[in-house]
Symmetry: C2
Subunit: 388 residues, 2 copies
């Protein structure tokens, strides 16, 4: 761990089948006016909405609603939410949903009292909040983004064709998150699998970088093994509580800042996936899956020792009698077989992309510099082409 860093994560987590008990304990710390933020309304079908509303009423809260948060929350929605929050004189924002709803709630928390246009301030100028921040809590119903224990918030501006993430400081982290694995049972299979690969990719983006020796890499190998194991169980039986709970916990720790400590990180797969999404509107995790194999098989030659280590420590490949390259490639083959087994989308064509779009996607791709190879436009094109 060669660098200097600070670690501080003030989010309180309540985990398990009884996690909702924590909601009451936490709500009592905040004011009466609660803005209840949620998405398309599936929480009204699966009973979670009723449970949350009951808890809010039991604690004497005034409930103000802000539903309809979309999978990629827009700046227009955010501006509308600010209006609602101000009118409600919201003391607290309770996000009930997945990563998008949590992301939106955090953006809202720093925008309600900011007095400037939130888009310009946070997503163009990357300013830090200087106004009062409305505290946020989360009841998580979908797993993958890790938004429940970090400061990340991604907002989309369709007019400007931009989808931008701001990683806010610890004062914007959710004050608490309620993690009940059973709340994720009703997530459709495609979304569950997509979420699993989002987690996998979060870990790999932080793992495949640097040549130093670092405890964080060992922690990530542990998280990866747990995820790989539990994913296979969850796709066979989505109601396997043990598997779903392990996946939920892994998702939180994959992106709550811990495993990046003391090391460099990559994030190129996310940049490729986000560029694909901008042109196809495909599901986030699937865009990552579709470009991963081509990307990793290409950069493997620039970070061979780490890819060989990955093969041995994560996929159980025996390195005996093999070159480092053979070992590394065997690891990626094992990863590819696993991805197919759990039902991930393995090519861009299936997500609606085609050869004619490639130049546009290349242009939309932000180039990161922390991985084993800094890509140029031609290399990005070749990787996307190999992913078609």
């Amino acid at each position: 761990m060669l660098g200097n860093f600070k670690y501080y994560n003030p989010t309180k987590l309540y985990f398990g089948k009884d996690a909702m008990d924590g909601l009451g304990i936490e709500l009592s710390r905040y004011g009466k006016n609660v803005l209840l933020v949620y998405g398309g309304g599936s929480i009204k079908e699966n009973g979670i909405y009723d449970r949350v509303v009951t808890a809010l009423k039991q604690h004497g809260k005034n409930i103000f609603e802000d539903g309809g948060v979309m999978p990629n929350p827009t700046i227009e929605k955010l501006r509308e939410g600010c209006e609602r929050a101000r009118k409600a004189q919201a003391d607290f924002i309770l996000a009930v949903g997945g990563g998008s709803v949590c992301d939106y709630a955090k953006a809202l928390s720093v925008s309600v009292h900011c007095g400037e246009d939130a888009w310009q301030k946070y997503f163009i100028d990357f300013d830090e909040p200087t106004c009062e921040i409305v505290p946020v809590g989360c009841v998580l119903t979908m797993v993958g983004t890790g938004s429940e224990m970090n400061g990340g918030s991604v907002i989309t501006n369709h007019q400007q064709k931009l989808k931008i993430g701001h990683v806010f400081g610890d004062n914007v982290f959710p004050k608490f998150s309620i993690l009940n694995p059973e709340f994720t049972y009703s997530v459709p299979r495609y979304q569950m699998i997509s979420g699993i690969y989002d987690i996998m990719s979060h870990i790999l983006e932080q793992y495949f970088s640097g040549r130093d020796d670092n405890t964080s890499d060992y922690l990530m190998e542990g998280l990866l093994r747990s995820l790989i194991h539990s994913a296979e169980i969850a796709v066979k039986d989505p109601r396997d509580y043990e598997a779903r709970s392990n996946i939920m916990w892994t998702a939180t720790w994959a992106l709550n800042t811990l495993v990046a400590k003391g090391k460099t990180t990559d994030w190129m797969v996310h940049m490729l996936g986000q560029a694909v999404a901008a042109h196809t509107d495909a599901t986030h995790g699937m865009t990552l899956a579709a470009v991963s194999m081509a990307y990793y098989r290409y950069v493997l030659h620039y970070g061979l020792p780490k890819f060989a280590r990955y093969a041995v420590n994560v996929w159980g490949v025996s390195p005996e009698g093999k070159t480092e390259e053979e070992t590394a490639l065997e690891g990626l083959d094992a990863m590819e077989r696993w991805m197919k087994r759990i039902g991930l989308v393995m090519n861009l064509s299936e997500l609606g992309a085609n050869r004619e779009m490639l130049d546009g996607i290349v242009q939309s791709t932000v180039i990161m510099t922390g991985g084993y190879k800094i890509l140029d436009a031609q290399e990005i094109y070749r990787i996307l082409e190999a992913s078609l």
Copy 2:
């Protein structure tokens, strides 16, 4: 992760060669009167004392001293410290030292204003603090206990021949800890190695329990691999920054509550080691090392699948063509070879124990119930005998 649990860790960590920069940032949040708590005075020889005092003066603090905290802090010392803290009207307690100094500072923080006898309240009745708690910060100079990021505090009462630990809640956790791996360079070799095994044992005590599938176990396998790897480097070159930094980070995460989440734990090796220490005054980590192999070789038969998993995932043993027991035993053999390689004390005789003491040590041993086998007195005797 089958259980319900809460995770909340409010300790802020500053890590790295520049970690001391964090001290100034944090000190500015607290009042003027700082009680500076430290141990035998080695920090005056290695320059850390001067650096801390300079920082305190720069931030306009009034410094009140409470040195001489012993390796096993006593209740008498604690009572004396309360006097000092009250006289100083301490706004903040800054602990500079290893686990004992941090432990002592936390006990002090809940005792200064408690108005009752701290021993009776916290270490006999296990009450929770109801009085004002003086905030604590740590500058860590020795690695192993994990006290820098948890609520644990162990106090010794020689009169009553008792050494008791209280695990306080998150309101007693240090507000911040300064973790500069270079500050641990001057720790004597024997103490460094002892600390390494204390870390190892913290992880194993949480790992060797339960039959469920749990992300925490995977995280521990990662921590163990990192520790085993870095320990071998550190004993060859104690000034290898990378190795010492990995060991320091591993120690913190081995016992800051994370890796026990959602699972049961054992802690029997610590009970055996503490009983040995009560009769020999031997160094904590070495007492754990001396009893570990006999304990694990005995309980292995009751938790075979986990011991076989340990062999494969932590020690790289190939299970091919072997019974589960053979695999498990090979793992313990590999562990024993590593323990000898890094210079741990492998038997009780070397720590001053002898056959005549065994009955007394058995009587002093608290029996835990979370491991793979609940021991009776005869079994404890046999394990201690095998450890002589």
